[in-house]
Assembly symmetry: C2
Homo-oligomer: 362 residues x 2
């Protein structure tokens, strides 16, 4: 259910939605997922305490490193090995960003990569592969109390460039099929560390959502000759636009106030985006995170970069289009969603977009 | 991350897992989803408070209805209309089970069903349909403090038979393509009502997970000539077996301590199961819920019945096999899982099954 704070802060938008619309089911052209939109659901009562959004903001800003936080400046020795830092170690100012190994990796770089003969088995059926892969952490700032969107646009750009640089390195490993870049902010979005950071996992297989995304976009392309994400989003779901990117609430958003940031020019791989465009993206990302924070009472959130698997044949490039998905954590997943894969979203995308347009993102 | 209580109560199993195994990735033969098993992940530290499993047990058992609970005996008038009750209204004892309309339905029975020409659009691409469908609640007991597994096996059977009877009614509606039966127990499993209940949603489309399950099982069948769920589960993942059903932790479980209860004889539709078998299933379900409650410290959980869509052509029946999935809520989903669709599970199925076998389920 929506956390009380959200119910409060969106009252305007929701009563509008309730007045003007009843339930509707929509299917998107990227994942081919059905979503049920049901504004009335947000009015149901509860006699169980729901955990509202955890407050992800750390304590008062006294500038000092938090004694127990290994991601703080000066505690580098408590971390798993560094991969690179920005600026490089020989530069005079201290680091602003560090890319390090995850000390508790889900997949291990030391494991033997799958041999060519046990490469991702084609066809369906049970199978198991050794836990080879790369699991890295990007520390976005040396300061415990700074959030990603507190950085200036250049600072956010440098974080995105650090992602891109590390993805490029992983792309060169023949056994890595995909890299999932993601950020968890706040305990109910899964974060175990409060210090601002993101992660990435390089996997020896193409993950399930990537496979279904490619299959869906391929089918749309074959039928319509169009890439699903080259289609210009309609004005009523648009939140903001820059020269190179659109930010909008997707037509069949699975989650209330979900936002997609999509490059306006067709492009398959996030990590191939050039520096200028990354600065443009950084400004838009910062502004969207600001809007969510202001309008939804500082909610926990996740963002994920959806890019293409490596080594895709050139015939697949016309229908693969990378994007960044931001999901504020406002609702709990129940058995319906877990079982059917179909989400129930109490806020229509048009209403969420209107609310997000209204507030200033700077 | 695993809630502290779980880390404690599973210490034995996890150290075993850590000693004997490192990471591994597995893909199942039902949904074709990759899952990463990583026992070391459960040792990572946290400086963010995680919400432990909400305690789903209501207050002391004084037998009285809870003043505010519309699902309690005597408060029937505060509920949306009843569909049927068990025993029927003319019987002398009061009701034991009520199937009612959901007062805040995600889909509406009053909406016009999709016209044949806008039936589920074939092919990919964006589309929208009116919010027609059925959303019902099954009140499993008249007493606020009784949990499903407190009922005797006959009582649980009657709940399952109520599901089956209502599914059968919905199957007769030409515009209903699928019914998802599910139960949310505890706030972090999504429940908004504490009084023991389940729900079902009859949808005018085939939900995404059902489509991918059927596609995967079809591919396995075409390649191997076998139904994925007719294959006998190996001894090390088996938790318990009866004459008609197996309960096991699936080979590629997405969630720690997830359990599947599968009919041993091939069968496509849950609601066609005969009465004797339903009693057998009820005993096994009750025992599994007991085990989870005892071994994992009364965790919130969901269960879902995965059955076949209605009106399936007879050529699909050989590879569709219904089952019931139980998922205790022990971990939080993060950006990796949301983005990739690939779960990270810190507990190997073999270890979870061993722990669940050890404890008495009665
Ligand atoms: N000294 C140190 N040096 C290097 N690395 C260190 C470190 N101390 C801690 N770490 C790592 O830092 C990471 C912090 O990550 P997050 O807070 O984003 O979420 P976490 O990965 O714990 O789990 C969330 O995200 C994952 C993936 O989505 C979900 O599986 C999970 O359930 C959810 O809680 C952890 O992965 C941890 O292993
Ligand atoms: N007087 C009354 N008469 C009839 N019905 C009444 C009623 N009072 C309340 N209800 C209904 O009873 C249901 C209770 O259901 P649950 O507690 O299982 O979870 P809920 O559906 O709220 O949401 C959880 O499950 C859904 C589906 O998985 C998720 O979308 C959601 O996020 C999660 O919190 C609610 O759907 C409510 O509408």
């Amino acid at each position: 259910e929506l956390a009380p704070s959200v119910v409060h802060s969106c009252e305007h938008g929701k009563s509008m939605a309730e007045a003007s619309r009843t339930s509707e089911a929509r299917r998107d052209a990227v994942f081919a997922r059905w979503v049920i939109f049901s504004p009335a659901r947000s009015r149901r009562p509860t006699d169980l305490k729901s955990h509202g959004p955890a407050n992800p903001s750390p304590g008062p800003d006294d500038g000092a490193p938090k004694p127990s936080c290994p991601f703080c400046l000066g505690r580098e020795s408590e971390c798993a090995p560094e991969i690179f830092r920005v600026p490089p170690p020989d530069a005079s100012p201290p680091w602003r960003i560090r890319v390090i190994e995850n000390l508790f990796p889900a997949l291990r770089r030391e494991a033997a990569p799958p041999a060519p003969e046990d490469e991702e088995p084609v066809g369906a059926g049970e199978c198991a592969v050794r836990g080879f892969g790369f699991h890295d952490v990007v520390i976005e700032t040396p300061h415990h109390e700074v959030r990603l969107w507190d950085l200036d646009a250049e600072g956010v750009r440098d974080v995105l460039l650090a992602y891109a640089r590390r993805v490029q390195q992983l792309a060169e490993h023949p056994a890595v099929k995909y890299v999932q870049v993601f950020k968890n902010q706040g305990a109910s979005a899964g974060a175990s560390m409060a210090h601002s950071h993101s992660q990435m996992l390089g996997t020896p297989f193409v993950p399930p959502s990537v496979t279904s995304r490619l299959n869906c976009m391929k089918e749309v392309f074959e039928r319509s000759g169009k890439c699903s994400l080259c289609v210009v989003p309609s004005k009523d779901i648009l939140v903001s636009e820059t020269h190179n990117f659109s930010a909008f609430v997707p037509f069949a958003a699975s989650y209330p106030f979900e936002i997609w940031i999509v490059p306006r020019q067709h492009s398959s791989y996030f990590h191939e985006t050039d520096q200028d465009k990354v600065l443009d993206l950084a400004g838009l990302l910062k502004s969207m995170l600001h809007k969510l924070c202001k309008q939804l009472n500082d909610p926990p959130f996740n963002y994920m970069i959806h890019s293409a698997p490596f080594g895709l044949s050139s015939s697949c490039l016309p229908y693969t289009h990378w994007f960044l998905q931001i999901v504020p954590q406002l609702s709990v997943i129940g058995g319906f969603e877990m079982g059917s894969g179909c989400h129930i979203n109490p806020v229509f995308p048009e209403d969420a977009a209107k609310i997000l347009r209204e507030i200033d993102g700077s």
